[in-house]
């Protein structure tokens, strides 16, 4: 079973995206992804309440295919954000949290800590678009939370430095690496698996931003053993979300 742990839904002019669940499920069918884990762009960049509700509506249309991440457009909303997480878990049936960091508005700050603690209570893994340094800060603050470093640092703010991501993940048992990126460096996955084991690697594509076929190939067309690939391509995210 292949599961894509990093998918976006909704609208963003900045990212040139306007897609619904029907489109994404059709793409998933073509590639062979049984489930896709989605975050709504409105929730991530504008209004968490509106965006998470929109995602819930798409989840209801495709209950067996779309797994929802609750998203917070900022970690600075205190109790309101915690209540939104409760709503996403209890009313919407979402299974994880997505948070997004930029150098101008970093999530590596005290305001994020109660949110991480809440995810521990809810059993949510967190997909964090954050740098290795930021992830280390967050893991040091709440070591029992389960954090997936989106793009494994292969994103602009982290300068594509996946080697640094591996160093961070080695230090923290609950820090995982997610694979989606526009970098396709030879040996990336083999190095991750050698240093961390396949249990700490989560497959994602970042559709509809990135081409899914090269994302899949850079994971599947490697020297990683079949049982390890099975975990990376779906088993790990199911386990983290309590769906295994």
């Amino acid at each position: 079973m292949m599961i894509d742990a990093h998918v976006h839904i909704g609208k963003s002019t900045r990212l040139q995206i306007d897609v619904d669940g029907e489109h994404l499920v059709r793409v998933a069918d073509e590639i062979g992804f049984e489930k896709i884990c989605c975050t709504d762009l409105t929730a991530l960049f504008y209004d968490m309440h509106e965006g998470n509700r929109l995602l819930y509506e798409e989840m209801r249309k495709f209950p067996d295919r779309i797994i929802g991440y609750a998203s917070l457009h900022s970690t600075r909303f205190g109790e309101e954000a915690l209540q939104e997480l409760e709503r996403c878990a209890n009313d919407y049936g979402m299974r994880g949290l997505k948070i997004y960091s930029t150098p101008q508005m970093t999530i590596a700050e005290p305001a994020t800590i109660p949110i991480l603690e809440k995810t521990v209570d809810l059993g949510f893994p967190i997909l964090a678009h954050a740098t290795p340094l930021e992830c280390e800060y967050l893991m040091a603050a709440v070591p029992e939370c389960r954090l997936m470093m989106a793009h494994a640092a292969a994103q602009p703010y982290a300068h594509g430095d996946w080697n640094r991501a591996i160093m961070a993940a080695k230090r923290y048992p609950n820090l995982y690496l997610e694979t989606a990126s526009s970098t396709i460096d030879t040996g990336f996955l083999e190095t991750c698996v050698r240093e961390l084991g396949p249990e700490k690697i989560i497959f994602g594509t970042d559709i509809p931003l990135l081409d899914p076929y090269f994302q899949l190939s850079k994971v599947r067309d490697t020297n990683v053993a079949a049982d390890g690939l099975k975990k990376i391509l779906g088993g790990n995210i199911l386990r983290l979300m309590g769906l295994a």
Binding site: I184, D185, I207, D221
Partner: protein
């Protein structure tokens, strides 16, 4: 047949890459589905372009079925200048090179403010010698990159050069490239860093398939993964074949 217009031999200084020697690359490329590749040495980028070209010439002689040599050209250092050296593309061609590559971001020159670049471009236009102009060697934010305006400023100054735009990634970079592909039939785009969703299809829809070339930046980048996005793109088989091979064959006069 898959012909890659942008591959490398040589070591990668930023992190370990196990495939580096000409023999390693010649063995790995077919495993990824790439039969032939235009190569340059990473030594040219990071140490000395002259020395890298010697490696490339040697590799092409050793693996003639696999490698098509491109010469990397850069500034003449003081020691060169004393000897009165000058870039000579006719000599490059006589030595077996089928095109050249420019990496201003690695060689400390600005492509619009160095006279030797204009000399190279005038020769390339006269000889119809392909020039690969690199925006970034691979898709990674940690490696140096060339700014968009410099890239297109040079093309505007020398539109008759058979250009290969290389390392283009972001949407605004692709949009600018499309504009130049439409404006000049001499301008081509290689795909090594084109990673966007449905990007290949959109490129073909916007400017046809004749000026798009498959490039991988292998073995630094994963060659098979880079090929997969072409093989699965929603384009005609004719377009796919053109991108994978025949456009490059035509450009390289093979």
């Amino acid at each position: 047949m898959v012909l890659d217009v942008n591959a490398f031999i040589g070591k990668w200084p930023y992190w370990p890459v196990s495939i580096s020697s000409p023999g390693d690359v010649a063995q790995k490329l077919p495993e990824w589905g790439i039969e032939r590749a235009c190569i340059c040495s990473t030594r040219s980028l990071f140490v000395n372009w002259d020395d890298g070209n010697i490696e490339v010439g040697r590799a092409a002689r050793e693996y003639p079925e696999c490698f098509i040599p491109f010469a990397c050209l850069g500034t003449f250092e003081l020691s060169h200048r004393v000897g009165g050296h000058i870039h000579d593309l006719a000599l490059c061609r006589a030595q077996g090179f089928r095109g050249i590559r420019l990496y201003p971001q690695h060689h400390s020159f600005h492509p619009l403010f160095e006279s030797f670049v204009d000399v190279i471009c005038e020769q390339a236009a006269a000889l119809r010698f392909p020039v690969l102009l690199s925006m970034r060697a691979i898709m990674n934010w940690g490696v140096p990159s060339l700014d968009l305006s410099s890239m297109f400023g040079l093309i505007e100054r020398h539109p008759r050069v058979p250009w290969i735009l290389s390392g283009v990634n972001y949407l605004h970079e692709i949009r600018a490239s499309v504009a130049y592909l439409k404006k000049y039939e001499t301008v081509h785009l290689e795909t090594s860093c084109v990673m966007g969703y449905e990007a290949i299809r959109k490129l073909v829809e916007e400017c046809g398939h004749e000026q798009i070339l498959f490039g991988s930046a292998a073995p630094i980048q994963h060659g098979r993964a880079n090929l997969e996005k072409i093989l699965h793109a929603r384009i005609s088989d004719i377009a796919r074949e053109s991108i994978c091979c025949s456009n490059a064959r035509r450009l390289l006069q093979l």
